[in-house]
Amino acid sequence: MSEELTGPEKVPSPEKVPRPIDLEQIRELLESKKGRMSFCLSACAGCTLCAESCFLFRKHEEDPRYMPSFKVLNTLGMLYKKKGKVSREQLEQMKELLWKNCMLCERCYCPLGIDLPNMVAFARSILRSQGIDGVFPHSQGAPEPE
């Protein structure tokens, strides 16, 4: 930054003071796109064709954790299944699937037309609403800005 931003209040670090999970906010977010997302989640036939189009899946010796459908079903799918009742630990586990295991390159192909990238983006936005962000270097424990 070109200069230390000045303000009358010291800003607390989101990492140092993890706020409690706001279940109501998660539920509201899930509700806002429930129709479209639930339809997409239920439409998945498990054909695994999306996996073939994921370069990370191919690069990681076809590790199923890199399959686009796996990533979506175990994050957004789980959030809908549990109706948003998740713990911070569960959200933290989803972080790896949503950021480390997905570049959001939008190249995953679904023969049924399921919009997988949008589902990953939506799941990421839910995690962000709870102060969880997996973008490098935050995911690597970047030092706090001075």
Partner: protein, 226 residues
């Protein structure tokens, strides 16, 4: 990636003066990675702006949202249902993101919160270096992987200029001379003949608005780009 840095708080307060309800739009792409416009930076800036306006008794409310990438239309489409509630948008993406927001919401003032600096590399956390001018005529194959447009203070395509002293640039004595580095690199690779190649004057395509349609997509976009 694109490297950006935050504008001064006072500058942002000046442009936001008079707007009571603002939406700060962060970007989960490049500006997140360079610690300028991701979720954490959006929250920090909002806290500082709120506190600063409050201290002056100025009514001001600012909300936060981070979209995955501001340079893609379907990612910013999530904002469609939100922007009506706000007087203005503050953009923590790069200049491209700010322009894309302004294009999508022409009725709303869009203010950039960042200065986009350059296309660069992540040397370490919080340490970025420019490596590409996006000039459109890459010469790295000839110059040993060192860009004279970016690394030479004079942007010389045929160098060195004659000014370097002890391997350092005469413009910035702390910086190594790019052309001496090119010479050393080529010498180590046994490709010194490249130093004798004279580059003709450039067409400076990079100075005009860039647009690229891949060959295999040209039919698809033929009507739009005509």
């Amino acid at each position: 990636m694109i490297i950006a840095e935050q504008k001064h708080l006072e500058e942002l307060k000046q442009v936001l003066a008079g707007y009571k309800k603002v939406l700060n739009v962060g970007c989960g792409g490049c500006t997140s990675v360079c610690l300028a416009g991701g979720m954490r930076e959006v929250d920090e800036l909002n806290t500082k702006l709120t506190a600063s306006f409050k201290a002056e008794d100025v009514p001001f409310k600012i909300d936060a949202i981070v979209v995955e990438r501001q340079c893609e239309p379907h990612f910013i489409a999530d904002l469609d249902r939100m922007v009506e509630k706000y007087d203005a948008l503050l953009c923590m993406g790069c200049g491209a993101g700010a322009q894309f927001l302004a294009e999508r919401y022409p009725a709303k003032p869009v203010f950039p919160a960042l200065n986009s600096k350059f296309v660069g590399v992540n040397r370490d956390v919080g340490w970025y270096e420019e490596r590409c001018k996006c000039c459109g005529e890459c010469v790295l194959a000839t110059t040993g992987g060192i860009c004279p447009m970016t690394m030479c203070a004079k942007g010389l395509l045929n160098g060195p200029c004659g000014g370097p002293q002890d391997g350092h640039c005469e413009v910035n004595k702390d910086a190594p001379c790019a052309w001496i580095q090119i010479y050393e690199r080529l010498k180590a690779q046994g490709r010194l003949e490249n130093m004798c190649k004279i580059f003709p004057a450039r067409e400076w395509e990079g100075q005009t608005q860039g647009s690229l349609v891949l060959e295999q997509y040209k039919d698809r976009y033929a009507k739009k780009t005509e």
